[in-house]
Symmetry: D2
């Protein structure tokens, strides 16, 4: 099933320096390093909805201890009639937020024609779950020198996910970070948006040399569950987190995208503090 010949560049198998350990390739984004001793935290709004909102969240994310800023300028939305992102304006807002806070920017690209454009503003490109098997997109980002955050598809097997990463690696770009974001499962619809699959972390780390992080926001869909999922992810060996936030004074209903799963800055602060203090837990 997990035949490493299909993801040979990123496979742990056959690489002597990666045998007998769970060491990951270090992926640097600005001054931040994935795969090292300290798990980076990416935080920010689901979508860039306005300049004020985004700058406020960016400042709060920085203050809470986040290492990178996330935010969608181009949003893949199930319905064509919901907010689709601000596009270039959103990218400019993100760049301004980076300027002010110093946090490198992670943002999604879903159109091959926009890779160059988005790369001008971003420090790391996110490939979203719905595009995990968009092979032209994977191939093209593999030709860039941008670090890539590759989310797992919502029903993807581990080998499909690793092969998707291999499409990127084949272009010469090995700066890939894998991100588990919950899978679709029959049982969980009563209480959660997806099922957080922590079992995949160890398997992914044993199979390949890439760092693996977790998105506790999409994998739960419920703000109250996010701190628990975040800490559980770190305990299970996750090498970083990506979390959706709203500003302190906002409530979930006033945001256009994913408010229900977004946490307030003080909750992020608590997560960062707890995972940093409890670093003895988890695989390393």
């Amino acid at each position: 099933m997990l035949d490493a010949s299909h993801y040979r560049i990123i496979a742990r198998e056959g690489k002597p320096e990666y045998q007998g350990n769970l060491e990951a390739r270090r992926v640097r984004v600005g001054d931040v390093e994935f795969g090292g001793a300290v798990p980076p935290v990416i935080a920010g709004p689901c979508a860039v909805e306005s300049r004020e909102h985004t700058l406020a969240i960016a400042r709060a994310a920085k203050a809470a201890g986040a290492d990178l800023l996330r935010g969608g300028a181009y949003k893949p939305r199930t319905s064509p009639y919901t907010f689709q992102g601000l596009g270039t304006e959103g990218l400019e807002i993100l760049a301004e937020a980076r300027e002010e806070t110093g946090l490198p920017v992670v943002t999604e690209v879903m159109d091959v024609r926009l890779i160059e454009h988005v790369s001008r503003y971003a420090d790391m490109l996110q490939i979203g779950s719905r595009n995990m098997q968009n092979f032209p997109l994977l191939t093209e980002v593999g030709k860039t020198r941008m670090p890539i955050l590759l989310k797992r598809g919502m029903a993807a097997s581990l080998s499909e996910w690793l092969c998707a990463a291999e499409y990127i690696a084949r272009g010469g770009n090995l700066d890939i970070v894998l991100c588990e974001r919950g899978v679709r499962c029959a049982v969980s619809r009563d209480y959660a948006r997806n099922t957080l699959d922590l079992n995949v972390i160890l398997s992914a780390r044993q199979s390949c040399i890439l760092p693996v992080i977790v998105d506790p926001s999409h994998s739960t869909g419920v703000a109250e569950m996010v701190p628990l999922a975040a800490k559980a992810a770190i305990a299970a060996g996750a090498q970083g987190l990506i979390v959706e936030m709203i500003a302190e004074e906002m409530d979930a209903c006033s945001v256009l995208c994913d408010g229900r799963q977004s946490i307030h800055p003080r909750v992020l602060e608590e997560i960062v503090r707890e995972i940093r203090s409890g670093l003895a837990a988890g695989v390393r």
Copy 2:
């Protein structure tokens, strides 16, 4: 859940001529019509692997009673190291096969940059399961005048599928045929590639005005099951089929792509005969 305001152009709701019936919008591809009294059959190889092979299958498909020719020139493959299709050469072979047999050509496009190119050869564009939520691709094919075959994602809900079709319709292109191709389910891995979900057919037809067809090849993954799945699909109200074939003298292992689920021409002939003779069955 199924809020028709998110797929309003294709919704049955609010269209008087589509009330109290299950009538579908007619989608014409050459002389073939989807949504009418007779369910069209699309048949052909998984991938265009060579000129000889493809022409042989096209002739056999025609002789067996198929109405359109399928065949992949650009193939979305899980692994970057398996056959990816012949590209333009494959398109030219398909065009030659159409020339010879008169069968209109259905082929997949997975790259927004190739829509125009593929449209020069194809009569109908297929959007594959892995791209069901590739929104730029949906938006761009919505601007063409090409009929679109929209496969359901392998873990897509009905509303996600209908919203994907709406992305196409919003561009002004309503010539969309939906295609159920099996879903990923925990229980079936012992004996089948996917789980054929026939329950979705009636629901999709009740929710929208588009014709709904079934792919018995991918929804089973096993050649022996294909005739049973094909007949069951028609009995369950499917308005057409898309089937993978290999040439009469070939065996499953000699093809590069999906041999295990491909049927021989004489099996196709039997399927066509049985579904045409048994047309009294199924919803109409």
Copy 3:
């Protein structure tokens, strides 16, 4: 995965008379035979709710062409606060209905302590989905001479289902009919109670010598889908059906159990007529 040594008594493997064909062991219930040329239809109420209601449905089932009467006297209900069945009184009503219509009675047993009691009234014992792996119950019904209808568990693999049948067969009772009743799947919750898994029919028939029937009521959960699912099941090789009905004059809301998926007698009549006329379809 499908290691026949774990279900050796019922396995097709190693039985010369069952090689090169899909012949099934004939299972007789009264004058009705499962596994022969004509697929029997079991019909009746979900639960025996009253004498009048049950007798009315039994007469209607008989008139519509059903071969056996179903009805629950002991009901496995998710909630302890919903109607649990009439118990012995229900069994007596079923016996009276058999007396009047001549239809053999199929009813569920879920308690090892009641096998003997239920067997006094029933002609065939049903083991429900929730008890597919209730091994003491399987073992005990295996010691009886009663024909057994073994429903598939709602997330059971094929090998688990076959092994469950083997528990019965080991006691010396090979009069077992398998029943597919839909599986639980992440994608279908919008429009159906379960996902009807027709792919399993051929695999089950190829793996073992037992007849395989389908329950189109539970596998859809929606009355309108039942005739489609019933015909699709027969087309896919099902060797019988078990269908839930309500009386002609009743509506779905007035019954205590599963009204939404129960069909009226005239719909049953149409199903019986169509599957009998279309017998050329399907595997045999």
Copy 4:
């Protein structure tokens, strides 16, 4: 969906002392308390396979810091041809192990006729996943005064699980501990036996007053994942663990049941130490 009227006795809703907190009812087994500040750890062999093996594991479990001893005397096995447990002899061995170590015994009962017999030896009765909806069994253990460990079914929704607990509570027995043990999910078959569903913990605790523990052995199926899953479970709010062990000198292949997912005593010791030292993490 989660209508508390169906599990009213165990519901948090409507009980003033359980509002605005996540307090659980305390369930005592011997001197051990579930639902309090310290999460108890249940450990022991999958099945009682021999006196020597069981006593060795019991001593090692005690030394490693476990609070209760688990071990199956009656085993629900998929295949009728695999080891089914030692029955009464197994119960006697467990009693001897308790005598020697002082650890209370948790063991499964799957037959209503054996409840009294098993209760003579056990301190807590386990209802396994396959019997989560064995309603006669639930009803009968509800009439005992034994603490009950109720495992979640492998495809059970939260409301089905809570309703199953309510069947027990209705008999007057509220000494119930819920146990998440992984769910069956399409994506995980490559690398794990089940998908550990940590999202359900908070939801279950918010919905009812019962303590919720996690089984990291069955929810992963892989010994190497067990410590990670155990720590993640505690971080996610689990109020205890149940873990399968083998003796220090044994290897996974020499045991008859579930060797692949069983950990050695030194690993258990590490788990106990880490979860006790890191108690600041998790919900309380």
